[in-house]
Amino acid sequence: MSAWSRFVNLWRSKALTREFDDELRFHLEMQTERNVQRGADPVDARTDARRRLGSALRAREGMRDARVMVWIESLVSDLQHGVRLLRRRGGLAALAIATLSLGIGANAAIFTLLNAILLRPLPYAASDRLVAMVDRFTRLSANDAPPTVPEILDVRDRTHTLGNIAFFDTRDFRITGGDEPARVFTARVTASLFPTLGVQPALGRLFVDADNLQGRWNVVVLTDGLWRRNFGADPSVVGRTLVLNGAAHTVVGVLPRDFSVDYPGLSTNEAIEMYVPFQLYEAYTSRLDQFVNVRRVTTIARLRDGATREQASSDLQTIARAIGTEHPELYQRAGKDVGFQMDVVGLHDMVSRGARSALTFLLGAVLLVLLIACVNTGQFLLAQSLDRESEVAVRASLGASRGRLFRQFLLEASVLAFAGGVLGLIQAMWLVQVMVALIPGHRPELDTLSIDRTVLAFTAAISCASAAIVGVLPALYFSRANFSPRFAVRGATGAGHRARHVFVAVEVAVAVVLLASAGLLIQGVRRLQTVDHGFSADNVTVMQVRGIGSQATRPIASITYQRFVDQLAATSGVEAAAAATPLPFRNPSGATFTIEGAAAEAATSVRRLAGYQIVSPDYFRVFQIPLREGRVFSVDDVPDRTRVAIVSETLARGTWPHESAIGRRIGVGPYWLTIVGIVGDVQATPLDPARGQQIYVSNLQQFEPNMNLAIRTVPGVSITEAAIKKAIWAVSPDQAVFNIQPMAALVSGPLAQHRYIATLLSAFAALALLMSAIGVYTAVAYLAARRTREIAVRLAIGAQARDILRLVSGQTFAWTVGGLGGGLAATAAVGSVVRAAVRGVTAFDPSLLAAQALIYLVVAAIAMAIPVVRTLRAIDPAAALRVE
């Protein structure tokens, strides 16, 4: 009876009982018939048959007992046997368990992160009904752009599939009245956000729709964190007045402890501390003003009861088509349809995007590590059972079925995997803490991390899978062998160890894949880090100021910034100071430009796109961007003079290949700008080393209330935050100065996730390298031990140590090289997976792979040499020959 039908029998005892009954009834009928044939009265015959049958019930119970008891008894005895064997080989068993536990632990840890970020539902009521709204421009290949406010309002008025619709964006607010002006990271939200997410206030009230109307801006809702940190969890905080951006606001409520919407996937990279109502000014809600194409809000909507996501998608398609037709000036460019579409994306998918590929990639990597651990442990069991060949043969000849032997291996593997699983889980708890502590950026999903039922189920599943793999490997080996005296011959010559070598090759191949992937990733990150960005971040400190507030009318903001810059430049230790929006390397928004004098059709068909930055005159000095031609901005480039621009080399050469760009005019928005200077190219975004077209305009001519400040300090001199704040406050005592940091941190920051993944992958690759080296080692050590006698004979007749090394390790070495080749071939395929998982990793570098292969060969050679050398040292030829 197969294990499966036996297992099934335990549960379908009714059907089993019926089978027993059928068998007994048959017996009863046969007996009755026989008695009648012999001339008995039918009634007597039946009575006699019954008597002879004994109690049918007893027979039936006996049959069941026989089935179940024999199975359980043999299971228990096999288990005892297995544990006994493992205990006899304590050291090796411990090694096997440790190997498995490392593999299982790494998997459980990665899965804990994956579970928290990808699998657990978001902490909102009926969160699977929440969606995010996105815009698509199929002709511009722009996907999942945030919708504009007018679009959202149109959808709100027309949809029949979406219930609540809410949106928000984030702002820096300046809070004064405390020890010093501080910045509060704040979300501006529609009142509908809280009911959409199903959150109730912990204190006071949340917003009502009227709060979103113009002029109702002066109310705030605090997060639990800010309330505890800044207000000492004072329950009477509701009604208190705060001075934000210089104006009085009233606290109306406090949110519950675990509420947040600050997910990186929702364009929020910091913890939101405070909520204010989004003021629906005409400028935002109409399609007439400057914000018409500004896409800065994140939309969250709840599906109406009964509506599906597909219905919502087609609903939004219809609405988007209507919007596109109603506003051709926005959605048709130069008479061409831009393919405007709107769609919904599950909110959870939106929140977890970006993390999905990296997490599945890492899980794949640790599964490979576990595979190596399993193969290693399988090797261990095989080595142990080959030593037991005679025992196995004896058991087989004594009537132990193949199935029974198979079960023996599985049981031993299960004991190892169970111990490995428990230990692995303990390791995972620790590992998860380390990984979370090191994870870059803000991830609210990880605040409530736990090893929950899903993680436990996953760990149990991979432990069982490990047990199956570990148990099947040696069982396969034995199922092909016929249990004959050939065993003895095989043992003595060391031939027929193909199974072991296949294991070695597989381990090597998998380890090489991991090693090479890690190498590829590290190389990619290093390349992005060390490439010349076109500017210098050394000795540059950057900072933000916000809430110029009532002064933010033009052109006073420019003047205020110029005074900040002058004051900072006058501080001792500062070489130069500048203001900029945005800072270099921080994804400047693109601006389309036209060229004066170019033919009209060319101007419309070839739209030129360039990065657009607003900077103060000393910007190029602070960032050491070289001037190639012409001049930089001066303080005399003021609004009533000629509007000027500086362009990058690439733009100048690409647009005017045969003449100088100086003095030429380009059209950006409503203005014609005269090019006065050409500067070196800079890298615009962290993950793309390409340097492109760039236009700079002067902040003295282009109004901008929100700017960053940057200072270049004298080399070797560090400047304190206090000195910086003092300089700012000398100009404007209410100013909040924040995010003071070295520019270098901003440059390396965006690569933090890459570095994190690279670090984890390197750790796993190192583990794989170690494990596979142990695999190679045990294979060779085993062969050497088996052939001790042969080695002794060869030494006795004059063989050299290197001959012995070749003899014992030659085959293993060949298989290792084979595995290496297979691994490298697989890496070529895996390279594209790495590239897909981690943006910015591009090259597939053969020299890197060659270096990795070489490292691996050295490690494998050492692993092979050690056991042979140990054997040679231990052998006394004469003594060895006397054995047996």
């Binding site: 009876m1 046969m30 007996q31 049958l53 027979a59 026989a66 199975w71 004594l398 029974r404």
Partner: protein
Amino acid sequence: MGDNKKDQLQGTLDLLVLRILSTGTSMHGFAITERIEQISKDVLRVEAGSLYPALHRMAESGWVKSAWGVSDNNRRARFYTITAAGRRRLADEEAHWASLTAAVGRVLKHA
């Protein structure tokens, strides 16, 4: 295998059943009892309450295998066949039985 009396008796029943099946034909339980009674001239009578649990235990141990089939008089019955492991078991049991009877014989003769 234990050494108590029950095991001894059980072993004897196993021996008889395996020997009957060792002719190579597959038989149902009733046929096995008939055959034992017939050969032993009704000296040995096998109770169904003992036979069927024994058959199932032996099936579980891999000495016999069973399958549902149709009997001579067209009824559904479970048929038992001896396996290779069962034959080895039979050899062991026979040897054991032979040494046991020989030993008992010697005791009876010489005591």
